[in-house]
Symmetry: C2
Subunit: 340 residues, 2 copies
């Protein structure tokens, strides 16, 4: 890169804050971050970081902290990279709209450090000339009101969501540029030439174990004890594998076994279950909704995943009502619709 | 009947207590009841009944109250009728075993005032010469530590589960004998010649709306708002109708519409949802398990109902663990099983 790149990070939860720290630690860019909920506290006291990668750091502050995306957009800076590490809830907020004011068409590289599948699609519709990168990031990290606690080393697999309007070599170059400002001597960043395969691989867990735990209210160990691996998770995994295959991605033969044994020894609560228990909306659309859209386009039957999706839609409705996003009338309306 | 019949009622929750009161009120039998949880209180003070059918009654006590089925069996009385109005949880307690000591083979008529489907089967295996009656009872009634509050009139549809070893006319006679000691000027008892049809009719609701509400944690009104009628309940209802049809029962053409509009105007929480919210085990096996057994025997495909069942099995596991019926090891065991 010919100049020191301008980087903005949106979303500083457990993951986003460690990504931000890693970029700041390497110090090859002008870093700004958007901190919404804890702005006042972080602005005055900074973050306390307790990290398996970076050790104990008191009061860390990047040089620029903004209380909102709007505020970040008003400094006249053209961002080379906008890194989005928020939860991905398009049924509540669409990230491509959230970040609109800081994305320069044809210029800004957007890095999606988010759960989900086929995340490039809405960006390509809105920004046909921009590179959209994918970072599949494994960090065991929590941000509790400005106290960051990272228990698992940052391991990121970085590539690009394939933008059909741009040459692949440009997209690959941008992915490697991003790695050059992020990869340091503490974290572990790998360039992956095939983002889609990586995202499908993650779905073998997230569309199945994660969803079943969210619906049934138990961790993966209890799903196993209750017989749910055989009756629910494995049939769902086979459907993910079938969609991937129809999409040109051959997942490894032992992917089911590997996925299940990945939780060995842990009574592990996946992210969607944690969200349901906390009463937070779940990342249903990007994890399962987007997959079912592709399955439909490719004419792959997904009865198990579709049932999980339809049940989670109702659960999501409940979570939104609990949050106040949905408000129902006091008296239940009566419709004269005829059902059959 | 040639003598005054001996009647024992097991299970005196909201429903069982009103059935008992109705039988005592008519006074054509020697009534005994088993009261487990509230025995001491009921033995000394009786029940306080606040009933839409019978008005306000303070301190009602049937002449014989037993603290257990075992105690009831030790009085040397041969029971003509044993009425069972407990919750039906064969994965925890099998009713045919619970009542074993008070059932005289070839003699005692068993009346099952319980939710569920195909409830005669385990009794016919254990008591091939006994008549097993079905009472589909609609009573809005709660028993709160001896205070009975009945808000909806007792409307019962009584018939027999068809015992293949006995002539139908004998089974019909016993059903009518039971009605003759139960039906009074306040309640509403109807003999139904076809119990199976009635039980299927009830399943159109209980195997679908009830199960979907239990899984998603919302009432039937919210299921409608969230789109779950079309994606979940109606497809499930169609499977119930298909099983019934294969079993020789043609449900009315408007059964789906009638079932859904049955909750019009109410944010109604069906029984399984109430149980899940209270942390009580659900009547999964008798409502859905028994239906799926028949579907399998008749080779009817039930993908939606099967998914609901498999999810509820995991939820039931959670409820049992919460109740202490299931205890898991502190450390999750690791199995070397290969999943595929």
């Amino acid at each position: 890169m010919s100049h020191v790149p301008n980087v903005l990070i949106i979303g500083t939860g457990g993951v986003g804050s460690i990504v931000a720290y890693g970029i700041d630690y390497l110090n090859k860019s002008n870093l700004a971050i958007v901190v919404r909920r804890d702005y006042e506290k972080v602005k005055s006291q900074g973050y306390d970081v307790e990290s398996v990668d970076y050790g104990t750091v008191k009061g860390w502050k990047p040089s620029k902290i903004f209380p909102s995306v709007e505020a970040a957009s008003k400094g006249g800076v053209v961002f080379d990279f906008v890194v989005i590490a928020t939860k991905n809830l398009p049924d509540i907020v669409k990230v491509e709209e959230l970040a609109d004011s800081v994305i320069t068409p044809g210029k800004t590289v957007v890095v999606l450090v988010q759960n989900g599948f086929d995340l490039g699609r809405p960006f390509f519709a809105k920004y046909p000339e921009n590179v959209i990168l994918s970072s599949v990031t494994y960090i065991g990290s929590h941000n509790s009101q400005g106290a960051i606690h990272q228990t698992q080393s940052d391991k990121s697999f970085i590539g690009f969501f394939e933008n059909p309007h741009l040459p692949k070599r440009i997209q690959e170059k941008k992915a490697k540029d991003y790695i050059s400002i992020y990869k340091n001597d503490k974290n572990n960043c790998t360039y992956v030439p095939d983002t889609k395969t990586h995202r499908y691989r993650k779905l073998v867990y997230n569309a199945t174990m994660n969803t079943v735990c969210a619906i049934t209210g138990v961790d993966t160990g209890r799903v196993e004890f209750a017989g749910g691996l055989e009756t629910l998770c494995i049939p769902a995994m086979k459907e993910v594998i079938a969609v991937a295959k129809a999409d040109g991605v051959d997942l490894p033969a032992d992917v089911i076994n590997d996925t299940i044994h990945g939780d060995d020894g842990d009574w592990f609560e996946p992210s969607m279950l944690v969200d349901v228990k906390k009463g937070n909306p779940i990342e249903l659309e990007v994890i399962l909704g987007n997959l079912l859209l592709v399955a439909k386009e490719l004419h792959v039957e997904t009865p198990v995943l579709t049932m999980l999706y339809n049940l989670l839609k109702v659960i999501q409705f409940r979570l939104k009502e609990q949050q106040g996003t949905v408000v129902l009338p006091k008296d239940r309306p009566i419709y004269d619709k005829i059902y059959s």
